[in-house]
Amino acid sequence: MSSFLSIDNVSRLFGPNLTTGEKIAAKLGSKVETRSVRAVSDVSLSVRKGETLGLVGESGCGKSTLGRLIAGILPPTSGSVTIDGKPVMESGTKVTTRVQTVFQDPFASLDPRMKVGDTVAEGPIAHGLTTKGAARDYVAGWFERVGLDPVWADRYPHQFSGGQRQRIAIARALAMQPDVLICDEPVASLDVSIQAQIINLFLELTRDLELTCVFISHDLSVVQHVSDRVAVMYLGRIVELGPVAEVFGTPAHPYTSALFGSVPKLVLDADELVHFETIDGEVPSPLSPPSGCYYHPRCPLASAQCSAQQPATQPVAELRAVACHHFEQQLAKASA
């Protein structure tokens, strides 16, 4: 498999920002929080050109942090991200415009005091993709591409609805002519009827522009719809990776299975209320994760081995990998 976007052994720690006083206090034995959170822990992924990789998990699992590491917004503590062999970041600075991001909240990601046309033009002018004189036509082209009327370029963000703002955010990302697009919950804040419009736009654009995508969402049905492959994260680690239909159809990790089981589904042919599986307990604090496999305190298949030893990521089938000691048992359960 030829890899276009490579994420190699990437980790990211967040430590507390201690003031000098707090550091001294900690040394003197006072109760100052000095532990770090390992938000992303030794993640390796490779994405082919034109492929959309879905990234799912519950809040706090590190999916957004991983997205920011890939986009070059945050420097990794260790490991590297490369596009077509070239690094995204060098010594803590982003050195490429080939990866761009669309964020969840289009209300927060657009400058309220800037005309939206100028917001979209700012990056391309700074990086020489267009000139100040030609910027208007350049922006108009991208506006049409995302289904906005080019005459709206002179308006301000508050004059648009949520769906239209997300189109502007997409136009801004695409105007940089990226090869890789990171979408961090792009439809989470939109209404259902608008969500469908943006998903359709996304599908059309990624196909036409041959974009390589990382699509982050907690909404499994959205990820299932847009992705080729999906990675499931739990407490900073990737627990399962594989083609969407296979991972959703026969989950190899007990967490994947439980996560899918607990999503309320729209069932049209049942007169009885649907019974759904629930996962016991809550996600543990990432400040003090459990030993061994992070999922073992909530896992129905957990054994002594699971609390002692962290499972290695191992191949299950072609293109599929899982980090679980008992994946064969889980697979047998899933296919039954």
Binding site: E58, S59, S161, G163, Q164, D191, V192, S193, I194, Q195, A196, Q197, I199, N200, L203, E204, H218, L220, S221, V222, Q224, H225, V226, V244, A245, A258, L259, S262, V263, P264, K265, L266, V267, L268, D269, A270, D271, L273, V274, F276, E277, T278, I279, E282, V283
Partner: protein
């Protein structure tokens, strides 16, 4: 069927702003039987939250209930004075809000807050109040409840905080609970636990619920009947399974069809064109007509609710997707 615990008739809540009158709720009617859960579904701005607030008389200026009736166990709530209403709130009807962080007072322990909620309506000894509070916490799935009463809200996770809010709402065994998107801010695995518990609680205690949500899938797994709101009015209502399988209003049909689960992966989704109208400048006639592919000249008039069996819809050109649904 016995008398409904909650009966809402032609409820209208309008907001009188400088820009004009916003008809946030414009003629909402429904009945709720004991132990029944109704899902109130709609997109943002459809008036579902204002409907919930109106039931408890929580609408602030510039808004007010302009007409209609809310009868709770035979008492007309809209006719009560503020203090009479306060004695009902939390006792006969209570509300669970979306954001459990904003609901709880960060300066007080969970026990103190539950004690205040108990004292508002009942005189109990400290010991009795504590055991009542602990009992409720246990019921909503909080382990070692007695110790947790001494904890502050920040010591709880989001899911646990929402359980506390639910426990407070249940303290006086109200006849009706209005729940406004209580699981929207939670993770799916926690959401599933809470939905499951609420379903059981409603059955055990006979508490009826109005469950407000934008998520059809969530309410379909919880509610026995649904009401779909659009632009301040209920455009369709009926038993959950019937309504989802065989929607009559084009908006309901469009909402269901636009879900990613309804299309093969990677294929374009069915989309409803346009956006929800501003409540300040509603089109004359059916408010959905400008986005509707079935609209005709007839839709320039406002359709009334058409009733058939135990369901109803407000549309001149209802969808008939399946010929006949087997009973």
């Amino acid at each position: 069927m016995s008398d409904p615990v909650l009966s809402v008739k032609d409820l209208k809540t309008h907001f009188f702003t400088r820009a004009g009158v916003v008809k946030a709720v414009d003629g909402v009617s429904f009945d709720l039987a004991e132990g029944e859960i109704m899902g109130l579904v709609g997109e943002s701005g459809s008036g579902k939250t204002v409907t919930g607030f109106s039931l408890l008389g929580l609408v602030d200026a510039p808004g007010r209930i302009v007409s209609g009736s809310v009868r709770l166990k035979g008492t007309e709530l809209t006719a009560l004075t503020d203090s009479e209403l306060r004695s009902r709130r939390g006792h006969d009807i209570s509300m669970i809000f979306q954001d459990p962080i904003a609901t709880l007072n960060p300066m007080l322990t969970i026990g103190q807050q539950m004690r205040m909620a108990i004292d508002a309506h009942e005189r109990l000894s400290a010991r009795a109040a504590e055991s009542r509070a602990a009992e409720l916490l246990t019921q909503v799935g909080i382990p070692s409840a007695k110790e947790r009463l001494r904890a502050y809200p920040h010591e709880f996770s989001g899911g646990m905080r929402q359980r506390v809010a639910i426990a407070i709402a249940l303290l006086h065994r109200p006849a009706v609970i209005v729940a406004d998107e209580p699981t929207t801010a939670l993770d799916v695995s926690i959401q599933a636990q809470i939905l499951f518990q609420m379903r059981d609680l409603a059955r055990e205690t006979g508490t009826a619920m109005v469950w407000i949500s934008h998520d059809l899938a969530v309410v379909s797994s919880l509610a026995s009947k649904l009401a779909v709101m659009y632009a301040g009015r209920i455009v369709e209502q009926g038993p959950t399974a019937t309504l989802l399988r065989d929607p009559r209003h084009p908006y309901t049909a469009g909402l269901i069809a636009s879900l990613p689960a309804m299309a093969a992966p990677g294929t374009p989704l069915t989309q409803i064109p346009g956006t929800t109208p501003s409540l300040l400048s509603l089109p004359a006639g059916c408010p959905f007509a400008p986005r509707c592919d079935r609209a005709t000249d007839l839709c320039k008039a406002d359709p009334d609710m058409t009733h058939q069996d135990n369901r109803g819809w407000r549309c001149f050109h209802p969808v008939t997707r399946t010929a006949e649904v087997p009973a």
